[in-house]
Symmetry: C2
């Protein structure tokens, strides 16, 4: 019969290839996040808690405002999950020195342990997928994803993400 290997894109990408890419993104994200969700459920947490733990771990001392810029949710939504994480001892807040309104966020050791567990699991998933696809595929994977990220956030991937000045 005719072809059945649909996974090679000859040219500027036809309708079918684009549809498959849309679906791949949906299925991949669904399954990728399901891994961590299972762990989070043990703690009574959801995906929102995961995102907070991850980015606080990544940027120790981050302010609530900066976290909001990353997550693109409202202060109120963040406030709820953040409050739970603080109550449960996964995150500590300390007031900013330069600006006492701020609550600079940090993981506790307990929080850092959970973060390592979650990130480790997800890193394993990606590492396995990358290994299967070959090291060469990884560059393509990353550059297409980067093209999907809105301009304002691309800088996160082109320079060092660490920059915790003042406090």
């Amino acid at each position: 019969m005719t072809d059945q290997k649909v996974l090679t894109a000859p040219h500027p990408l036809g309708q079918e290839e684009l549809r498959q890419s849309i679906e791949l993104l949906f299925f991949a994200y669904r399954d990728f996040t399901a891994e961590a969700d299972a762990i989070l459920a043990e703690y009574g947490f959801g995906r929102a808690h995961h995102r907070v733990i991850y980015f606080v771990g990544r940027h120790a001392g981050i302010t609530v405002s900066d976290l909001l810029d990353i997550l693109r949710i409202t202060k109120q939504s963040l406030g709820r999950v953040l409050g739970q994480l603080v109550l449960d001892g996964f995150i500590v807040q300390r007031p900013g020195l330069r600006d006492r309104r701020q609550r600079l966020l940090e993981l506790t050791e307990k929080g850092a342990a959970l973060e390592r567990r979650l990130t480790g699991r997800q890193a394993d998933s990606i590492a396995r997928a990358c290994a299967e696809a070959g090291p060469h595929a990884v560059d393509g994977f990353r550059s297409v994803l980067l093209g999907l990220v809105h301009d304002g956030d691309r800088v996160r991937f082109t320079r060092r993400p660490e920059r915790n000045g003042g406090e």
Copy 2:
């Protein structure tokens, strides 16, 4: 032989690369879905409606059960959004002939128009990102994503997705 770093990869992807990949997936998915969300908001719909419209468009005559297998949500969750879409005239249900309990789902012309609008917008996003990254990157993008998809669903991308036998 027998060393541990012999497994062919030039660099097995370090911690930092893996973290960046995790974040890329988060940011790319966030921005990718935001495009369609804006359109959906005009109709008073959410992301759940989008997924239903998309997969019903993709598999005309699909049953509720098969749709549930794709979406991995509960019948009850699907029922609500599906009910709205039927009420608003975006989807029609017709009873199965072989099994009268089934409600085979199809888009109306109105539903198909919305589906084209949503998919077109998302296809443009991906096409642009792929064009920027180069046609070569696209293969890598797709094969890594495919590696993240759980086994049971990979078959959707290796053979023709159409197969509406019975009715």
